[in-house]
């Protein structure tokens, strides 16, 4: 009990100290706004994103049941959370701090706004302001395509990006691209995010030792950071650029978790010996009952 009391005290003290540190948001981020209006669809999508990515720490919105981290994750419905402007919220999601992870590479720009749209649904007095169309127009394009190729000599991956701008299909300059390699449980960021040159090309240094499948295939995914402006564009290409890796399936050898025919030998032996041993004696004793019966029959003849 005393231990609990002290650790509680410690938590309170530390969190007081940390919450004293203001989370500074740059002025240009502070005023950023979502390019689209929050509606039921965005809130629904945001809710799904929230429950997979945020609830484990922040808890059920409005229930104040966040996990006890230092500093504590604020409840979504709290004044502290809702006191953020949309832009500040977006900035904090992108940058992260302490235990609060950065979602820069995990969620797309659109998804970030969707989560924010969900968070806002717990604030009845919230009035959304949408980014003015002109602000977005300058950098936007339609029908954006990303093509990935491998530059063998330098072991680099090149992304060529084009899109329809001013009614003309042309290379897209100045767009930030991220490259990911698909792994078992998610996507691994390859190299830094790069910005396309005048020819719409961005080049990523590819590591020499990234494990691929048994023939060396690695599934690559490229996406644009600003998918609000360019639409949710993705390239999804498999290239033979990894180290061929053969991972024997866990069910290949005899193991506790395998099927019966692949049970460990020692287990099969112990089980069989124990069962046959015990039942051997049982059957022997059952035969003895018969022997008693026979011995009884004989006496009458004596």
């Amino acid at each position: 009990m005393i231990k609990r009391y002290f650790s509680l005290l410690l938590i309170v003290l530390i969190s007081l100290r940390l919450s004293a540190q203001v989370w500074v948001v740059p002025a240009e981020n502070e005023t950023r706004k979502s390019p689209f209006a929050f509606d039921d669809a965005s809130r629904k999508a945001g809710s799904d994103l929230y429950y997979t990515n945020c609830k484990s720490c922040h808890g059920e919105p409005g229930k104040n049941n966040a996990i006890p981290l230092v500093p504590p994750p604020p409840d979504m419905a709290s004044a502290k959370m809702q006191g953020n402007s949309d832009g500040a919220m977006q900035y904090k999601l992108i940058s992260g701090r302490g235990p609060m992870p950065s979602f820069k590479n995990t969620l797309s720009a659109t998804d970030l706004w969707r989560v924010i749209s969900f968070v806002r649904s717990f604030n009845p007095s919230y009035k959304q302001e949408i980014a003015s169309a002109s602000a977005a127009a300058g950098t936007s394009a339609q029908n954006v395509k990303i093509v990935l190729s491998w530059l063998k000599e330098t072991n680099q991956v090149q992304a060529s990006i084009s899109g329809v701008k001013d009614k003309v299909n042309q290379p897209l300059a100045g767009a930030e691209v991220k490259l990911f390699a698909k792994r078992y449980f998610g996507y691994l960021l390859v190299d830094e995010p790069r910005t396309t040159d005048a020819l719409g090309k961005a080049v990523f240094n590819f590591p020499k030792d990234l494990p691929g499948d048994s023939t060396g295939y690695v599934q690559l995914v490229a996406s644009l950071t600003n998918d609000v402006a360019f639409g949710e564009t993705k390239a999804d290409t498999s290239l033979v650029i990894g180290v061929p890796t053969y991972r024997p399936p866990l069910t290949e050898k005899r193991a506790m978790w395998n099927v019966v025919s692949k049970a460990p030998i020692w287990l099969l032996l112990s089980y069989t010996i124990a069962v046959f041993g015990a039942w051997g004696f049982i059957i022997y004793v059952l035969l003895q009952i018969r022997a008693i019966y026979r011995a009884g029959g004989r006496k009458e003849n004596d």
Binding site: Y51, K55, S56, M256, W257, N258, V259, V260, A263, P264, L267, L268, Y271, A274, V275, A278, W279, F281, I282, Y284, V285, L286, Q288, I289, A291, I292, Y293, A295, G296, G297, K299, E300
Partner: protein
């Protein structure tokens, strides 16, 4: 059990009076009909409850995603535990050569047979699709402790039945001619079951050898049955189950429950069948000492089981222990530990409380507590999974046993009582020939 049997006792006059005493209650009496009628009607209600579960599935129980092992599994562990006493009394104590266990041995075997037989049924009660039971044998994996459990429970049941039946054979033969007051079909049953026994030395020789083999074989089997039952829990990583002493912890707990069950049955037999000449205060005194001994050993394991994780307080263990000691389960936990373990130990240290009636009352407390102890072992652990599920109704995360579930559990207990009643009522409950043999020995000693 001596391997050489001196059959002189067959000619001792006292055999007649001993047999008459023990056989007097055998047969159908009014009390028996009323008692069985009561059990039968109660059982019908429970069978109806099972019909509901069979029809609708386990949704009619309180079992959900978090707590999927509830009352049924606790009940299963209780049944297996209680049945273990057969091994302790007739085998361990018998083989050591303690004479006082002779009249009690059969009572212990009756408990063993009844509880082991129903244990299998209890497991079926936990199955939503009982018709898939054969799949356990068709597709079961030998790597799974559940398969080991099914194997040892079956083996233990067969050995216990043999240990009940084998020493009964001479009694059946002795009783045959003395059963005038019983129905004909019962006499015929005796005739068949006594397998032409006519007390030849050869028969005794075969019988003693067979009994001896079973007495020895039942020791590892009994250890296996309850150790494997404990492994169903201990092979997981979950707080409260992840323990290396779970095998001996379960075993010693089993001896406590079983000894209490034996005392309860002894008391009923002594009082209802007026057999106080054979189940004497000395027997209760000795059982009292046995119960203290096994309880102290169990207490020792309890201290180990809670003190060691309590000292380290690893996060998950700490939550679990908190729940037991001061949290949701505190009332049940402390009632069980105090009323079912600590207080009985203290009381039974005094001779007065080892008299039949106080022993009976204490044993009832111990046995009931033993049931709830199994509940404490099985259920609270599941309250706090390592990977909590999200966005599910609250109802899925808590466990409230339903009436249907309780009735089915009650039904299994009634079934065990029915088996015990039948065995106690239709067959000599105290080994006639062994008591007579001992009497004969005493007589010949006094003559010398």
């Amino acid at each position: 059990m001596a391997s050489e049997v001196n059959t002189d006792f067959l000619h001792n006059k006292k055999l007649d009076s001993i047999a008459a005493d023990i056989l007097r209650p055998v047969g159908i009496t009014q009390g028996f009909i009323v008692w069985m009628g009561f059990l039968g009607i109660s059982l019908l209600a429970c069978i109806y409850a099972y019909y509901i579960q069979f029809d609708k599935g386990l949704i009619v129980t309180g079992l959900r995603d978090y707590i999927s092992w509830g009352m049924y599994i606790a009940n299963f562990v209780f049944f297996v535990a209680t049945s273990l006493v057969g091994m302790l009394i007739s085998s361990v104590l018998g083989l050591i050569g303690l004479k006082w266990v002779k009249p009690i041995a059969r009572i212990a075997e009756i408990i063993a047979v009844a509880f082991a037989a129903i244990a299998g049924l209890v497991i079926v009660s936990d199955m939503g699709r009982p018709e898939r039971l054969p799949y356990v044998f068709l597709y079961g994996r030998i790597q799974s402790p559940i398969i080991w459990d099914v194997t040892v429970v079956t083996t233990y049941l067969v050995i216990s039945t043999l240990l009940y039946f084998l020493p009964l054979i001479p009694d059946l033969a002795i009783s045959k001619g003395r059963m005038g007051h019983t129905p004909k079909w019962l006499q015929q049953t005796y005739e068949i079951l006594s397998v032409k026994w006519n007390h030849t030395p050869k028969q005794y020789q075969i019988l003693m050898k067979a009994v001896r083999i079973m007495l020895i074989l039942i020791i590892p089997t009994a250890f296996a049955i309850h150790t494997v039952t404990s492994w169903l829990f201990a092979v997981t990583l979950r707080p409260g189950w992840d323990s290396s002493i779970f095998g001996p912890y379960f075993l010693t707990g089993a001896f406590v429950a079983g000894s209490a069950a034996v005392v309860i049955l002894m008391y009923f037999v002594r009082v209802n069948y007026k057999l106080d000449k054979y189940l004497t205060t000395h027997h209760f005194d000795m059982m009292g000492k046995l119960l203290v001994l096994v309880s102290i050993v169990y207490l020792y394991f309890n201290i180990n089981e809670y003190l060691v994780p309590g000292f380290k307080m690893k996060t998950a263990e700490a939550i679990h222990l908190h729940d037991l000691f001061v949290g949701e389960y505190a009332l049940m936990f402390w009632s069980v530990q105090l009323l079912g373990l600590v207080i009985p130990i203290i009381l039974l240290l005094f001779k007065f409380f080892r008299k039949p009636f106080p022993m009976f009352v204490i044993s009832v407390f111990v046995l009931v507590a033993a049931w709830f102890k199994r509940f404490i072992i099985v259920v609270p652990t599941q309250d706090h999974p390592f990977l909590p599920i999200q966005r599910v109704p609250h109802e899925w995360m808590v466990y409230h046993p339903t009436i249907v579930e309780s009735a089915i559990t009650m039904g299994t207990i009634i079934l065990a009582v029915i088996i015990i009643t039948i065995l106690v009522k239709f067959f000599p409950v105290i080994p006639i020939w062994e008591v007579a043999e001992e009497q004969n020995e005493l007589d010949s000693k006094t003559k010398e």
